[in-house]
């Protein structure tokens, strides 16, 4: 039996490795599938709330782009690049999810929170990792490069990597609206501080809330940017009072020339 000692040592060593990994994963992996309630509220913010908010407290695009248009399968393409640990991405996912849901169907969203050791720690947010999106007027790619432990999640193809680097400067979050507008952060993550997913999702429906003014306002600006690519389709969305009010912010962005795309 003494001869079996090395086998026992190896089995114990591998068991320890797996145990440490599982313990680390359990601690690290905060991302779960978004509840049906969260998904329903985020993808179905009432038009009345969005119209009341208008641009709210949101900022406009970070830049107007003049390079090649970003398309996929003949449709204008929205590219989001972020990371689950990133607090500013945590902020921007809410309005982005609200905005693109007005043009199609967003499913398989995740729920997560930003890094506990970064600024605006544990900001409740969504995750686009593993999400799916279908639309007749736009295409959407939601890329979460890293999880909250900064481990690789999704990867960019070479063209998107070039866009992310040259147009986005390699910074999270990077949102390219069809090669026409680049968005970064539209409101402070502090707006969401201490709020749960449920509280944020419910606040989106209340146009008087600080969260709605920031997130719904940002969603209206994003929607207005997308409408410039879809020939204002669907009309019910693109001609709504909230979107037309928010469209005024589009002109405020500085122009940047892109070479990728």
């Amino acid at each position: 039996m003494l001869a079996m000692t090395p086998v026992v040592v190896v089995v114990v060593a591998i068991a320890i490795l797996v145990g440490v990994k599982l313990a680390g994963t359990a601690q690290a992996n905060k991302t779960t599938a978004a509840s049906a309630s969260i998904t329903r509220q985020v993808t179905g913010v009432p038009l009345s709330a969005l119209n009341t908010v208008g641009a709210g407290s949101a900022s406009g695009p970070a830049a107007t782009l003049t390079g090649d248009k970003l398309t996929a399968n003949g449709l204008p393409r929205i590219l989001y690049v972020g990371a689950e640990w990133c607090p500013y991405c945590a902020t921007e996912r809410w309005p982005l999810a609200v905005a693109i849901s007005r043009f199609g169907t967003l499913t398989n969203l995740g729920e997560t929170a930003s890094s506990p050791s970064d600024v605006y720690p544990n900001t409740a947010t969504l995750s686009f990792h593993g999400s799916t999106y279908t639309s007749k007027v736009i295409s959407f790619s939601g890329i979460e490069m890293e999880n909250d432990q900064r481990q690789t999640l999704d990867t960019l193809d070479s063209a998107d990597q070039k866009l992310f680097t040259t147009v986005g400067g390699g910074s999270y979050p990077f949102i390219d609206i069809g090669g026409v507008y680049r968005f970064g952060v539209q409101y402070s993550p502090g707006v969401l501080a201490g709020k749960t997913h449920d509280e944020i999702a419910q606040a989106l429906r209340d146009p008087t809330s600080t969260i709605a003014k920031a997130a719904d306002g940002s969603a209206n600006v994003l929607t207005a940017a997308i409408c410039t690519l879809t020939d204002n389709k669907p009309a019910a969305v693109c001609t709504s009072s909230g979107v037309t009010a928010a469209a005024a912010l589009l002109a405020s962005a500085p122009t940047a020339t892109t070479t990728a795309g």
Binding site: L2, A3, M4, P6, V7, V10, V11, A13, L17, K21
Partner: protein, 184 residues
């Protein structure tokens, strides 16, 4: 087991060159466990050959689920899949070519192969532990085919150690029986 073992005879043994009375075993009986070690080595050889083939063909026919936890392609194309430009799968293939020869039942009769065989399996299992660590903490994915190789290597280690200890014990007993009375 018993029928596979034959009684040792004086012709199976010879005195060591130093004449100190220590008896060295020149031949041993082939046991079922020897066949098991050879079978394990062959299984490891097949798995390693498959992984090597997939490496050189760009995983063209690699059959493996791609989930967040299990992803053979992520593992076999990672930066850790090669050492000094040589695919890890090829190291595995070389290891199992050597082991499939060293574990031939006939070669279990050769006592001088005992230590090299044990050392080889320990080196092999050391590599397995290292590669498991890489999968879990660097690549963050598990390769099922690689895990198959790892399990076979662990079983091979157990079988080689057990059989080596068993044969060495039998050698000692046989040597004691055939030692001249004056030496006892």
């Amino acid at each position: 087991m018993a029928q596979a073992q034959r009684s040792s005879t004086p012709s199976d043994h010879r005195r060591s060159a130093d004449g100190a009375g220590e008896v060295e075993v020149a031949g041993r009986s082939v046991t079922k466990l020897a066949w098991v070690t050879w079978a394990l080595a062959i299984i490891g050889l097949v798995l390693s050959a498959y992984l090597s083939y997939e490496h050189f063909t760009g995983n063209a026919t690699l059959s493996c689920p791609a989930t967040a936890t299990v992803n053979c392609e992520k593992v076999t194309t990672s930066e850790w899949s090669e050492v000094a430009g040589i695919p890890v799968a090829v190291f595995g293939l070389i290891f199992y070519v050597v082991m499939s020869v060293a574990c031939l039942p006939l070669y279990w009769r050769i006592r001088v192969l005992d230590i090299p065989r044990v050392v080889a399996t320990i080196v092999g299992i050391g590599s397995v532990v290292y590669l498991v660590w890489i999968e879990l903490f660097a690549v963050n994915a598990i390769c099922l085919w690689c895990t198959g190789v790892h399990v076979v290597t662990l079983l091979l280690l157990g079988a080689v150690l057990w059989l080596t200890a068993s044969l060495r014990s039998q050698d000692a007993e046989t040597a004691a029986r055939h030692r001249p009375a004056g030496r006892r």
